[in-house]
């Protein structure tokens, strides 16, 4: 650990974070890859349970270790964590050991009874995923019925007296216009809105081109955050927008492997929840425990050593934007020391237009056969293109919009 021995003990907090901490401050733990839904943009390509999933006893050992390391809270996700039969047991086990839990769910198991239990606990936060303020926009990416499931869960929590649930939204091209509606939805349920960035991770890589906000929508998002940011959580995920001018509140740096990491359902430790790929795999906690991986992995040592700005170094916004998100660059095949694919100064688009090879996924737990939960991403894109009623076009040309069948069109 020579890197750690040489680190300066003074300097700004951001500098200190860059050198890494003795334990993470933002630890995500995905309990299972199993999920009742099949969201088009799932960051972990979830669907099916992995047969090597950690057992209850192994999970308890992880929690014991987190307590020893003074990891004060953990973000639990998946897959859908609540469909693990021991989920509620593990939740209590963690809370009893002063490891607070914030868990993300699509709401499927938040029954009135579970909501009452959650309301009675003191150290649990619930985050319901909603990616559209209407069923139409939400179900487009999250699958049929998922909006109703989420709203029912929010209502159950509210009725049970659970205070301040979080509504977690991945910002996409289709929901940027709904930011005020999301805020209203949160207010309706006494909840707090949390907005995060769509990253091309997991199945998100397949739909990123179609779903990531357009350049003018990024501006719209930035302006909205500047106006409402103080009452909205962002998981510090929009720091690339800082290059519009002012920094957004929160941490402006990529925390991967420094203050952030992910434990996956089989105990593999990755640098960040959005970086589930063998390139960012630091090790498995079953061999020597989580602390050993966190403190001695060579990948993490590398991520904690001083980085160069590459093509970004000459950018006047580098101090606040820092080249954006490592995972977003990696999964779009861009160099890690260059601009973010969504660089608001426009360098990302240039980079995307150049030569690049998108890395193949190193794992996939998607369901092999589609079920009825699978989203059908058809309606919304078609609607976007229609800018006037079809009758207008017909009035000028009776064949408007009619394309000849292929066989006839050929000479």
């Amino acid at each position: 650990m020579t890197e750690l021995a040489e680190r300066p003990t003074t300097g700004s907090l951001v500098q200190q974070f860059e050198y890494g901490l003795d334990a993470p401050i933002c630890l995500t733990w995905e309990l299972t890859y199993a999920c009742n839904l099949e969201c088009a943009h799932c960051l972990s390509s979830s669907g099916r349970r992995d047969p090597r999933e950690l057992t209850t006893a192994q999970c308890e050992a992880v929690i014991d270790e987190l307590q020893r390391m003074q990891v004060f809270y953990v973000n639990i996700g998946g897959g859908e964590p609540t469909i693990r039969p021991d989920f509620w047991h593990l939740l209590e086990y963690a809370v009893d050991r002063q490891v607070g839990v914030k868990f993300s769910t699509n709401g499927v198991r938040i029954t009135p009874e579970r909501a009452r239990f959650l309301a009675s606990t003191d150290y649990v936060d619930v985050q319901i995923s909603v990616d559209g303020a209407t069923a139409e926009v939400n179900d487009y990416v999250r699958g049929p019925g998922s909006f109703d499931t989420a709203v029912r869960a929010l209502a159950n929590l509210q009725d049970a007296g659970f205070r301040d649930a979080k509504i977690s939204v991945v910002c996409t091209r289709h929901n940027i216009d709904q930011l005020d509606d999301f805020k209203a939805l949160a207010e309706r349920f006494g909840a707090t809105l949390r907005l995060t960035r769509l990253r091309p991770s997991g199945r998100g890589a397949d739909v990123w081109d179609e779903l990531h906000p357009l350049p003018e929508q990024q501006r719209q998002l930035y302006d909205w955050l500047m106006a409402h940011g103080d009452r909205v959580l962002t998981g510090d995920s929009f720091f690339h927008l800082a290059a519009f001018g002012e920094s957004l509140p929160g941490l402006n740096l990529c925390g991967a492997g420094r203050v952030v990491c992910l434990i996956d359902p089989v105990g593999d430790v990755y640098a960040c929840p959005f970086a589930i790929h063998e390139t960012f795999l630091a090790g498995n906690l079953l061999t020597g425990g989580f602390q050993q991986v966190w403190q001695t992995s060579s990948l993490f040592a590398q991520l904690r050593s001083p980085q160069t700005g590459g093509a970004c170094a000459s950018c006047s916004f580098y101090d606040s934007c820092r080249g954006g998100c490592m995972a977003a660059k990696f999964f779009t095949g861009l160099p890690l020391d260059g601009p973010d694919p969504e660089c608001v100064q426009g360098y990302g688009e240039l980079a995307l237009a150049g030569n690049r090879v998108v890395p193949a996924p190193s794992q996939d737990h998607s369901k092999t056969a589609p079920t009825r939960s699978q989203p059908v991403m058809l309606t919304l894109t078609r609607r976007e293109e229609i800018d006037a009623a079809p009758v207008t076009a017909c009035a000028s040309n009776p064949l408007a919009g009619y394309t000849l069948p292929r066989s006839l069109a050929r000479p």
């Binding site: 750690l4 680190r7 003990t9 003074t10 300097g11 907090l13 200190q16 050198y19 901490l21 003795d22 334990a23 401050i25 003074q70 004060f72 809270y73 002063q98 607070g100 150290y123």
Partner: protein, 93 residues
């Protein structure tokens, strides 16, 4: 503040870090960073001294910095990381 008796809040845990410590409040779930090791030592020692000034002296902090440290402590007090030591907190021990 320098003449008052203070203590670390009972719901706060300190996690040592290379630059100082991370303070976590289990009640309001606030995370605060104590960016100097001297500040960490001071906060840990508050309890053992009659007032803040005595704790500062015992931590070896030069007198001309006492006011700056008082400002830092005030910030920690606003987040309930530290509390005035009252008769009740004394009794509880």
């Amino acid at each position: 503040m320098l003449e008052e008796a203070w203590t670390l809040s009972p719901s706060v845990a300190l996690r040592p870090e290379p630059f100082g410590a991370l303070a976590y409040h289990f009640g309001n779930r606030k995370l605060t960073f104590l960016k100097r090791r001297e500040l960490v030592a001071l906060v840990r020692g508050l309890d053992e001294h009659i007032d803040v000034r005595a704790a500062l002296t015992a931590t070896g902090i030069p007198e001309d910095q006492h006011d700056a440290y008082a400002v830092a402590l005030r910030g920690l007090a606003d987040a309930d990381m530290i509390r005035p030591r009252t008769a009740t907190t004394e009794d509880a021990r």
